[in-house]
Amino acid sequence: MKCSNSMKFLLSGALLVVMGQAAQAAEVVVYSARNEQLIKPLFDAYTKETGVQVKFITDKEGPLMARLKAEGRNTPADILLTVDAGNLWQAAQEDLLKPVDSQALKTNIPAYLRDPGNQWFGLSVRARTVIYNRNKVKAGELTTYEDLAGPTWKGRLCLRTSKKVYNQSLVAMMIAEHGEEKTEQIVRGWVANLATDPFPDDTKAMEAVAAGLCDATVVNTYYYGRLMEKKPNLPLAIYWPNQKGKETGVHVNISGAGVTKFAKNEREAIKLLEWLSSSKAQNLFADVNMEYPANRSVMWDATVAAWGNFRQNQINVSEAGKLQTRAVMLMDRAGYK
């Protein structure tokens, strides 16, 4: 009968997997929401340099955090790595991380890119800026994120969906700066200026700008880099908003990591984080995805540097986490889908 055969298969398969789990000497275990092709080159380099094995598993942030919580003190994970500050803040909030006292991390990573309680550290910077159509936007028309809500932009704006965490933290940072009431007005203004329904991703929004459906959009710069690499002739250009006088600068988020509360290999975990923040690893970390290094002493990748220098918003990125729920609800109220 089929059933009995399948049982045999099953058991032997299980045995194989269990046997494959034999413990290694020095190793670090990472739960990562940053995808495989962006982290594996780094971990491979680390293993080559130090002999320490890095085991990792990728998933979305939500399930990874649910997993950490369920596993509690017996979790195999030493490090949680995510692609935005909001989730790291939430992980700290749920008591899944532990403070790390490391001089190297403090020196390498600027204060606004790490948790004030030292539970997590930014490792690369993701700038969310304005991309516009060179043929349709006149000089001086672009100024700030806030201004995209104004009458000049009626019917000229494209946006990605509010469901993406990058937009949620952008709005959260605006709440930190302007308060909820004013931010809601701004977001309502954006929605009123939309040329079409929000897009599922940044690339689609930029393609719409290039095709002339709208004139400007707000995206993470590495999507712009990727698109222009593939289609260099698109009439798109980058604009750094909020750079004048007292304006707070370009919105940045981080890809970052923290040590889990019940890390078994705490010392190795901290060493890995320190290595990731060091100049040689920082280039690799940022450059594989055309992001900006978090470590200020590190040179930018040539493509990235060509986009020009800009002032970053230096409000601590943990605000994005703190205010994320409020931002999501605000965007719902404003009808930003």
Partner: protein, 548 residues
């Protein structure tokens, strides 16, 4: 179930004497994760719930109902008409279309959705061409309710096609002959006899398509179309409110259970058994002239839109991505995918058979309720079920680790987490509906007088299942396994959450690429999934054609 073979006879403690216990045991697999999720209800999040109620629930209720209605009608129309054409008629290309029309099942729906967006959105190939060549700017938007419904219909109609076709084929010659002897023409015979008799099969496929529609996150996200499931994800992963998410999930489950029970109740009184001597395959209705042309264009059109066109696009992308991404590891990914899908399909089919058989041995309203509960996992958004399943496994693991430490002082790692057994059980919790629906419909076609006759001849228990029912269930069992196989090939949240370290599959490769928006690179693993998914589809059709 291995125990069943040794069952000494009536009265002994075995599967055959305790069908209710068996059914509950299987249902527990799904029920535990559902209860884990529902337990968050104890701690309601008033503020967030009030917010959802005021700003998002009305919209997403309307959206979900429209989506379910539209996809339900769409898959029924395509599935039933194509099943009838290939099962009961003959027209040029029928043999090819018989299996080719199943192929859309092998493509992950959210990947094809992205292909459609690339073609038909404002910046897509077609509207751009229309604009630049003809000056036509008014093109119906693909990112709309209609667009989602069409794309999901094209992805999901094969469920209905497959189960309806199995039902039509099972009807055999005598049924239509009887209808004709009563003076019915072919059209009336179809609507009055063949279609109503095929109802359990059609409903089995339709409920799979609807459950998948309601639980879908990937496809609707591509269109930014808000549904119950996107709201569940948002409540959980953006508002960080597990309780609001489980409130929404509980409503979804309730909705699906009520529908399932209503449907069951409406046909409770009728029997769908067919004569054991159905008279073999009926003579096909030979279509000629314009009818043949119409049938060919219809089947060909659906095949082109649902599979050939998106698959070709994926092949082009895959070819470009292969230069950078194709490495020897792909053998490993394919191997893992095949292993998981193969074992998962066997296990799901075995448990589904046990559940359906338990229901046949001890039919009762309570049993009916149990089986519906057992199959609810398919209607739950994948990530929710994955977490619901993971939490009790982690709890058990912690128990084992802590006890070992207390008893022996030794520190051990996770025993259950990251094992194949846990992965396979989680797949069962999710895909039981896929196996059960088809097997239940197949079992329903076997008349009960056959069971009694067997018993009179002294054939009961395991022998009756093996010698009488199993041979008649070969078709439905194969369908169940093939469907589960391709579903597991594409499955993401459970695979991501329960796989061992460094153990990647084709589906997780798709995830790695799409999570940072690199859809074109995701085409390579998606194409590999489709090609690997062809295998069971070929086997399935070879079998079903062997009978005709």
């Amino acid at each position: 179930m291995t125990a069943s073979e040794r069952a000494p006879g009536p009265g002994a403690f075995s599967f055959f004497s305790t069908p209710r216990l068996t059914a509950w045991g299987i249902a527990a697999l799904t029920l535990i994760p559902v209860l884990v999720v529902a337990s968050a209800l104890v701690d309601p999040d008033q503020e967030i719930w009030a917010h959802l109620w005021q700003y998002t629930l009305p919209e997403l209720l309307v959206n979900s109902v429209w989506l379910a209605l539209g996809v339900g009608l769409g898959v029924s129309f395509l599935g039933i008409s194509l099943a009838w054409l290939t099962a009961a008629c003959d027209f040029p290309g029928r043999r090819f279309f018989t299996w080719a029309l199943l192929l859309p099942l092998a493509l992950p729906a959210y990947v094809t959705a992205f292909v459609w967006l690339g073609w038909l959105d404002f910046t897509g190939v077609l509207p751009t061409w229309l604009r630049e060549t003809w000056g036509i700017t008014q093109v119906p938007p693909i990112r709309s309710r209609g667009g989602v419904i069409v794309v999901m219909t094209l992805a999901l109609y094969p469920y209905v096609y497959l189960t309806a076709r199995a039902a039509f084929q099972g009807q055999g010659r005598r049924l239509m002959e009887a209808a004709q002897s009563l003076g019915m023409g072919r059209v009336r015979g179809f609507f009055r006899v063949a279609l109503p008799m095929a109802r359990p099969g059609i409903v089995a496929g339709l409920s799979l398509a609807l459950m998948e529609t309601l639980a879908d996150f990937g496809t609707v996200s591509v269109f930014n179309y808000n549904t119950f499931t996107t709201a569940i994800y948002k409540a959980w992963f953006s508002l960080f409110s597990l309780s609001a998410a489980s409130q929404l999930a509980s409503i979804l489950i309730f909705f699906v259970l009520v529908l399932a029970l209503l449907e069951q109740a409406s046909r409770q009184q009728r029997g769908y058994a067919q004569s054991s001597r159905a008279g073999g395959a009926s003579a096909r209705i030979l279509l000629d002239g314009w009818r043949a042309g119409l049938a060919f264009s219809f089947a060909g059109g659906v095949f082109l839109l649902a599979f050939l066109a998106p698959f070709t696009q994926l092949l082009v992308w895959a070819w470009q991505a292969a230069a950078i991404d194709l490495d020897p590891r792909y053998f490993e990914f394919i191997g893992h995918s095949l292993l998981l899908s193969g074992l998962g399909a066997l296990l799901v089919a075995a448990l589904s058979l046990a559940l359906a058989y338990a229901q046949r041995l001890a039919p009762s309203p309570g049993m009916l309720f149990t089986t519906r509960l057992a199959t609810i996992g398919y209607a739950l958004p994948g990530a929710v079920l994955a977490v619901g399943f993971f939490i009790p496994v982690a709890w058990l693991d912690n128990l084992i680790i802590d006890q070992t430490r207390a008893w022996s002082g030794h520190e051990i790692g996770q025993v259950l987490g990251g094992t194949l057994v846990v992965m396979l059980l989680a797949y069962c919790a999710r895909f039981l509906a896929v196996g059960f629906g088809t097997i239940e419909a197949g079992l329903g076609r076997i008349t009960r007088s056959l069971d009694e006759a067997a018993l009179v001849l002294g054939v009961g228990g395991a022998r009756r299942l093996r010698q009488v029912h199993l041979p008649m269930l070969r078709g439905p069992l194969l369908v169940a396994m093939a469907l589960t196989f391709v579903d597991i090939m594409k499955e993401l949240p459970i695979t991501l959450m329960t796989r061992p370290f460094g153990w990647d599959t084709l589906a997780t490769r798709v995830f790695e690429m799409t999570s940072e928006g690199e859809w074109e690179r995701a085409a390579l693993p998606a194409v590999a999934i489709a090609i690997a998914g062809l295998l069971p589809i070929f086997l399935l059709i070879r079998h079903s054609d062997a009978r005709t």
